[in-house]
């Protein structure tokens, strides 16, 4: 990682942690509804930025590609979906529950599969990855249980906030971790 990339990722990590703290803070001081609104705002902003990114990709690269119009349509749909999400004031919690569960289950599943494969192929370092994978899946299950069984929007917002903070911490950790870059002549 270059110095510029490190600074960029450090700032990104701090912003992400700040968002997470904001969600948790709102849940505690203003009630779960405000926390949910912040989550909706983050989701909507992410979708809008993503849509803009895809449209930029189309204009610079994908328009030269056979079948590239598909990228244009995808960009528009994501962008419009972001605008739509931004305009919603009372999002149904089940949308967020599903989102959190899929996100954590997929991330954890990939980690577990990667750890098992590494073990099968004789690698030494696989245990930590396996533990993180399992913990992530448990985290996703907790979000689903809290949402679907207890119907607690406060807990959903809390879990989302903690998840965001962990992501931010991971970004910052990566900045200070010695990256294995291979320098070859």
């Amino acid at each position: 990682m270059s110095r510029f990339q490190k600074i960029k990722n450090l700032i990104k990590g701090l912003i992400v942690i700040l968002f997470g703290l904001l969600v948790i803070g709102l849940v505690y001081y203003e009630g779960p509804d405000d926390g949910l609104e912040v989550i909706i705002f983050i989701l909507a902003a992410a979708l809008i930025l993503r849509g803009m990114g895809v449209l930029h990709f189309y204009s610079t690269m994908a328009r030269h590609m056979v079948g590239g119009q598909q990228v244009l349509y995808v960009g528009f749909v994501i962008f419009c979906f972001g605008l739509l999400t931004m305009s919603i004031h009372n999002l149904h919690p089940s949308f967020l529950i599903g989102y959190l569960f899929v996100l954590y289950a997929f991330t954890g599943g990939v980690d577990v599969a990667g750890a098992l494969s590494a073990r099968k192929n004789g690698a030494k370092h696989w245990r930590l990855k396996l533990v993180f994978g399992i913990l992530t899946i448990i985290f996703g299950l907790l979000a689903a249980v809290a949402g679907f069984i207890y119907k607690s929007t406060g807990v959903i917002a809390l879990i989302y906030g903690v998840g965001v903070i962990i992501s931010g911490c991971a970004m910052i950790k990566n900045v200070f971790t010695k990256t294995e870059v291979v320098y070859i002549q």
């Binding site: 610079t60 598909q70 599969a113 494969s117 004789g122 690698a123 370092h125 990256t179 002549q185």
Partner: protein, 389 residues
Amino acid sequence: MQEDFHYYATYCAAFLAGFNHEESKAICYSAQFVDLCSRTFLDGVGGPKEAATTQLMLEMLDAKTDLIGLQNITRIWASFHFLPFDLYNPIKHRKKKYKNKYRMICNSNGALVADTVNLAKGKTLQAVGLAMHVLADTWAHKYFAGTPTLVINNTTDYFFELIEKDGRLEERKLQFTHNPKAKDDIDNSIYVNTIYQYEENTVMNLGHGRVGHLPDLSFIRYKYMPAWGNYREIVKDNPDDYMHAFAQMVYAMRYLRGLEGDRFELNKYAWDVIEPYKDRLKSIIETRRLDASEDWKAFGEELSGAKIPAFDLSLYQEEYKTAEKENKNNTFLGGFFLAAIAQKSMVTKAIFTSKNPLAGIALDYNEKGLRGIKDYLKLMEYSGLDLTR
């Protein structure tokens, strides 16, 4: 290409080029090993991580596609499996970012093929085998790039298999399934490929993933529209490409043995050497099946009169693991790792010199001081250079 060509066919080519049975075994072992020398494997034997020549599927899933991750992926796949054909292609009216990807497209008989063969000249049998893997893949993997890229490696639904029937080529609509557990169904022309992802840099868009294993099957002929082709149809004739790959391998290995002059020439093939076996080769290459190992093995054993053992990944592991630190480079795997680092270094430097950042920075030791010294020392030793000069 897969084990049938990289292991058994390479054995046959090495033997026809004049290597003996033991030498041919070492060469074909190294050629096949390129597809298995992952970071996970290197972690297991305690080898240098920079010698990785492939990435396992789950390593790929885990790989970050930020700049550093992309460069790591590209260094591996462009150096060993999708050698770029023309790093200075003068394509016009495109952004630099697009040009960088376009110039990574692999094809046979590019300048880097000659550099790859020359790099193995006077080196170990492992280096010869590694070079043969790279050379053979330039035929099988032509038209795809060894870097994640949607705008180059994607394809459309326009896909037809060309099947020979009564001396004519008939078209049959070719279909794809995305289930990784499914097997290619050659009877009904249903093949497994990676799922469409609209993101440019996802690993799903690396190499020939979007057309599945089609480039690895020697018998198949098909026509399609590559993403980079500006709606032009491309006919991929694998039997012809595989025959050329075999003939070029024989020529390259004869050159490496000093039988073909002192300069490796592109577009040159050992047709005269393989002429007596042409019908046999054609039959092996063109028979419709997923794995031609048995036929290649039988052909190789007929040529040498000796048994070709099945590929065994663990064959040289103990030797490397138990060797003293200063002797590791003298083991079979040690020799392979050095050849791999040298190849990766050469290709990375060529890409970097063309002002293309996709494979990362190739540091020049004399200009940049101590960074990269570990690899540099290894390469100095490999090249037989005097460190005190």
